[in-house]
């Protein structure tokens, strides 16, 4: 928890700077963004070596942000857990927090359809912050991809059947 509160404190410090960078948007951050970075959902890590866990790690070179999003699937192919860790601006944290909420309970195919525009709309991100929602979408896709690769490398067995039935 100490880790979280430090993260939250740092975020709060960053808000004024961020707002001034959003020159055109006098309103600053939307309440949905503030809610997600003041109370980020699902912060943390899952065991990346677990076969049922997919890890997506993406970065935004323009601002030096890094985002890790992990999903855990049950044997029915449903996402039962999701965690994230994002080091970046408030919009990037809010986008990944929301993404973890949205993927939970979804199948892989359903999770694949989550669009950055939906994330941006939910958080009312200003145009200069749209790339943060894109990063979250990329992170979901990367996590799904990682899971698929891991399952593909699984020795023949129950998982293999599931994969075959999808193809």
């Amino acid at each position: 928890m100490a880790m979280l509160s430090r993260g939250a404190r740092e975020l709060c410090k960053r808000i004024p700077r961020l707002e001034s960078s959003l020159a055109a948007s006098s309103a600053g951050y939307h309440k949905n963004v503030i809610d997600h970075y003041e109370n980020p959902r699902n912060v943390g890590s899952l065991d990346k070596d677990d076969k049922n866990v997919g890890t997506g790690l993406v970065g935004a070179p323009a601002c030096g942000d890094v985002m890790k999003l992990q999903i855990k699937l049950d044997d029915d192919g449903k996402i039962i857990d999701a965690k994230f860790k994002t080091f970046g601006c408030g919009s990037a944290i809010a986008s990944s927090s929301l993404a973890t909420e949205w993927v939970k309970g979804k199948t892989m195919d359903e999770a694949m359809t989550i669009k950055n525009t939906e994330i941006a709309k939910e958080l009312s991100l200003p145009p200069v912050k749209l790339h943060c929602s894109m990063l979250a979408e990329d992170a979901i896709k990367a996590a799904l991809q990682d899971y698929k690769i891991k399952q593909g490398n699984e020795p023949p067995g129950s998982k293999e059947e599931k994969k075959a039935s999808r193809n």
């Binding site: 740092e10 410090k13 070179p61 323009a62 030096g64």
Partner: protein
């Protein structure tokens, strides 16, 4: 390095040589900003990533002295305005060239390259390192933990700077961009550490 475009003095009308009369005409009158002049030109440096920031500082302060508002208090409004314009551009040039990251980004811009939102990074190992450094900062329980990370980041930054320098020397601009992106990441972590230190002091 200097544009061949000449610029006539708005006061006496003679053609000024942008290289020798960057800020002032020989007649002593402050000039408009020379066309297509680079930040390097303004600070009398060759376009190179490797520059001596001490020399840069000396040239900067010396030039600013001549453009200082005090020197223009008895001059015309137009001269005051031009001096202000030149001085503010010179500030921007100095701040940009002083730090390796902004200097590298500026040099990429001179090569028509930018680092923007459309850029992605697909180096999982590198991203893993960045994630891990950030997690180490989160989990650091003592000042000496932070100092250790700071030192590691310092070494990484030094390495990036060397890579950028070599890439620009080799005219390998894509490679310079890749190393600049890395420098951006390490600099972000360095700023985060500085932020933590500042808060602990305050």
């Amino acid at each position: 390095m200097f544009p061949s475009v000449s610029r006539s003095c708005w006061k006496c009308g003679r053609d000024t040589n942008p290289e020798k009369e960057l800020f002032f005409c020989k007649c002593g009158i402050v000039q408009t900003v020379a066309p297509s002049v680079t930040y390097f030109d303004l600070l009398r440096e060759d376009i190179s990533f490797d520059l001596d920031t001490k020399t840069l500082g000396v040239v900067f302060r010396e030039t600013q002295k001549h453009l200082h508002p005090d020197m223009f208090s008895s001059k015309s409004k137009e001269e005051q305005r031009l001096a202000e314009e030149q001085s503010s551009l010179l500030n921007k040039a100095y701040q940009t060239l002083l730090k390796p990251l902004s200097r590298a980004i500026y040099m990429l811009n001179l090569h028509d390259l930018t680092i923007d939102e459309k850029d992605t990074i697909s180096d999982p190992e590198f991203l893993m390192d960045i994630m891990s450094f950030n997690e180490q900062i989160d989990e650091a329980s003592s000042a000496s933990d932070i100092t250790n990370i700071e030192e590691t980041i310092g070494v990484a930054i030094h390495k990036c700077i060397k890579e950028i320098s070599q890439a620009f020397k080799d005219c390998n601009i894509e490679e310079a961009k890749r190393s600049t992106i890395k420098l951006r990441y390490f600099t972000t972590i360095q700023e985060r550490i500085l932020d933590i230190r500042r808060r602990e002091l305050g």
